[in-house]
Symmetry: C2
Subunit: 287 residues, 2 copies
């Protein structure tokens, strides 16, 4: 594997961007890495850990010389960040992102590109409980899924380079359309999040005879509400940018909840076994 | 602590009953422990591990001399098991159970008792992924909740003895009515189970563009569906015996899901933050 890009500018040197920086540098895939950030403290950590060669809070400075720009800030700030950079980027710069929603990003980003620029959407399906440059980890992506979503402004060459870059992380890289990505992730990721948060909301103030009901939950309640502790801002953005697919996933889910409700209310033993067994088999398959 | 009962007969020497047997014996709280079981293989394990002094598959034999009977088989088999034993029990035998639902058990069990017998419902809120006598563990109950639900046929003396027995496990023992127990557990335990199983059911056969959507889930999907792998028979019984409280809990939950659905559909950013934040704070409190 040889040099893919001269200068990678990472906008948002957190867990996701910082981990990729470590790997790109280790494999010699980029010559130089610039970090664009909002807070100097995090940029200082990124510099101290050697994730980036230089740091700036100025998008114009960050744009100069970047033949690859990776958008790794909160999803809904991508357009504003990129718009400030575009006039100062090399003519044929490649833009990529690591957002959890792809259709919205393609629709918002592609109109901002200069005529010779390319865009390649990427979603590395990985995460950790801690965030920021401090959390960057070169093993973060190993054996995880990285989804590449070619769109109208993706060139074959840019897609090939991005796939080479991401394969170096040890992840399983695969392609799909932005629409398929958003439909799948609405079911496999966004639905579990809303379901978990909705349970936490339901039990937040639920008192029975002067006792907080949730205090009587065991491992099951803990497991099912763990992700309810995630960032509200991140999930607001995902909900706002993937509305249709999430609404459809919630409708599917509501049908299952209704099936259980009816079986409970009517005391239908056979139907209860059928439903719990179907769920059990799905979970076995997931292992 | 001194001897509480001469002979404890445990009906169902699995994880819950077997663990209690280990502890009762260690602290010298009972003189002799008899195990009543369906399969000889599990009883042989219980004997080999010293959980019980003798084993039988005959309820009449299990009843003889038992001044304490602990029902620890699947919930809905309690009445049949106890009915077969009652004519052969000592006149003043104490009956207890470890079921996850209490109102139904009280209603079914109390009419079966001889005139001088007492019943004390208990729910130790604990569990492990493995079951059977092989899984018995004297640390299972440490710092967990054990809920005692006195009812019409509970005597003060029997309640006091059962509480002493369960305190020896290192658990936090507390009393509430069977109704409060069932209402609380419907929210803190039964609702998370149904929610998790309903998610697993929703995604069981969900294909998008030839791909199994659930295969793209990460830790969040894994956490939220972990308990969907639980025993279908156990959860059928819980649903059948705690119908009203579970239906009420599901109605509360559906309201939260509807709140999220409306916020997603209308793209209400402020309401999304409000909901996700409320869930986040609840989860922080749970830790």
């Amino acid at each position: 594997v040889s040099l893919l890009f001269r200068q990678l500018t990472i906008c948002g040197v957190g867990l996701i961007g910082g981990s990729l920086a470590l790997i790109a540098r280790k494999h010699g895939l980029v010559e130089r890495i610039v970090g664009l950030g909002r807070t100097q403290a995090n940029l200082d950590v990124a510099l101290a850990r050697g994730l980036i060669d230089s740091a700036t809070r100025d998008p114009v400075e960050a744009a100069r010389g970047a033949d690859l720009v990776m958008l790794a800030t909160p999803l809904m700030t991508f357009p504003e960040t990129l718009a400030a950079m575009v006039p100062h980027l090399p003519e044929a710069a490649v833009i990529t992102d690591v957002g959890s929603v792809k259709g919205w990003v393609v629709r918002e980003i592609e109109p901002l590109l200069g005529p010779r620029m390319a865009f390649v959407g990427v979603h590395p399906v990985a995460g950790k409980e801690i965030t920021g440059a401090i959390a960057a980890d070169e093993e973060l992506y190993r054996n995880r899924r990285v989804i590449v979503t070619p769109s109208a402004r993706s060139t074959l060459e840019a897609v090939a380079k991005l796939e080479t870059l991401w394969r170096a992380t040890g992840a399983n890289v695969e392609q799909m359309t932005p629409e398929a990505h958003d439909t799948i992730l609405a079911r496999a990721s966004h639905l579990p999040q809303i379901m978990s948060s909705a349970l936490a909301v339901t039990l937040a103030d639920e008192m029975v005879d002067g006792r907080w009901a949730a205090g009587f939950g065991a491992g099951g309640l803990r497991d099912t509400t763990r992700i309810a502790a995630s960032s509200a801002e991140m999930w607001r953005d995902i909900c706002l940018t993937n509305r249709e697919a999430i609404s459809a996933a919630l409708s599917l889910y509501r049908k299952s909840i209704d099936d259980f409700s009816r079986a409970v209310e009517s005391g239908d033993a056979a139907q209860l076994i059928e439903l719990f067994e179907r769920g059990r088999r799905m979970r076995e398959r997931l292992k």
